[in-house]
């Protein structure tokens, strides 16, 4: 048990012992994670925020059922995912649209885009707002099952086991979905990254 988990266990015990205000401190390191989990599912800021609040309140109400088999962060993520699923179901019955969330693995071409004139992107180019925007839309356009695994692994930085546990899928499925998500993003972002890298010119405009 690391220092963080140790402190967390102590906090949880005190909250359950009656120092309820400490729940604010317990949740603070995970606020971002809860929001992003919801956002990866409902894809709408206002709905994601509502859902994040619901998830946190639920975690507060049910803290006594946290037994510590999972890490607190994983347990909280599971609550957030449940909240997201609830909202998706509600949206589905309202719209009678097919929701991609429970979809099967997608057939498709998961080969990356070759970048023949690629050069390492200077850091300052990666800093550009338009690249961030492109990435946000690329992630939003991923099929739901891939977006969710990608969000937990690469955005929230859960490990494979934690991601599998939170989603109730096997570690292997996590790896397959993550691989596909990353390749789809690489494909989608490649031309964009490429065109933002100007060919390096030598003297008299010759390409080096």
């Amino acid at each position: 048990m690391g220092m963080k988990e140790f402190n967390e266990a102590g906090l949880i015990a005190r909250i359950l012992g009656g120092e309820k205000e400490l729940f604010h401190d317990l949740i603070r390191p995970y606020e971002r994670m809860v929001y992003l989990t919801l956002f990866s599912m409902v894809k709408n800021e206002a709905d994601a925020e509502d859902g994040a609040q619901e998830a946190v309140i639920n975690a507060y109400r049910h803290l006594s059922s946290f037994r510590g088999e999972a890490k607190f962060s994983t347990w909280l993520t599971m609550i957030a995912i449940n909240e997201g699923r609830k909202r998706l179901r509600k949206a589905k019955s309202a719209a009678e649209d097919s929701i991609e969330e429970e979809a099967e693995e997608h057939e498709g071409d998961y080969t990356p885009a070759p970048l023949t004139d690629w050069r390492e992107i200077p850091l300052e180019r990666l800093e550009r707002q338009e690249i961030r925007e492109a990435l946000r839309s690329a992630v939003a356009e991923l099929p739901g099952i891939y977006r969710q695994v990608f969000t937990l692994r690469d955005l929230e930085e859960l490990n494979v086991e934690e991601t599998a546990q939170a989603l109730g899928i096997s570690a292997n499925v996590v790896k397959v979905r993550l691989h596909r998500a990353r390749i789809l993003l690489q494909k989608r972002m490649a031309p964009f990254l490429k065109t933002t890298v100007p060919a390096r010119k030598g003297l008299f405009g010759r390409a080096l």
């Binding site: 309820k20 205000e21 729940f23 604010h24 949740i27 606020e31 971002r32 929001y35 992003l36 956002f39 800021e45 925020e49 994040a52 609040q53 946190v56 309140i57 507060y60 109400r61 080969t111 990356p112 885009a113 070759p114 970048l115 023949t116 690629w118 390492e120 992107i121 990666l126 690249i131 961030r132 990435l135 946000r136 992630v139 990608f150 690469d154 955005l155 930085e157 494979v160 790896k175 993550l178 691989h179 990353r182 390749i183 993003l185 690489q186 972002m189 490649a190 990254l193």
Partner: protein, 89 residues
């Protein structure tokens, strides 16, 4: 054994996560040394992951944290004021 590009692509995600075994890792690295296309794919994928982990890429709504804690505070107060043995949910 000489790896083909396609084989490298299949393992690129696990390679990034350092979860390929030592032998495959070595084969991939040997391939990357001479294959510009695969190196570019690897670099671009890594760049995407760096950007993703950067907190400025996926931002929280302004005031999110404040509203969350206000809501939580209300909930905590509500339970506190509830009569003993009841009132929750």
């Amino acid at each position: 054994m000489k790896l083909e590009c396609k084989h490298v692509w299949e393992h690129i995600s696990e390679y990034i996560d350092k979860s390929v075994d030592a032998q495959l890792r070595e084969e991939i690295e040997r391939h990357l040394e001479h294959c510009e296309i695969c190196s570019a794919i690897l670099d671009s994928t890594r760049n995407i992951l760096v950007l993703t982990a950067d907190e400025r890429t996926f931002e929280l709504p302004v005031g999110y944290s404040k509203r969350l804690h206000e809501r939580l505070k209300e909930e905590i107060e509500k339970v506190k004021q509830a009569p003993p043995g009841g009132g929750r949910e």
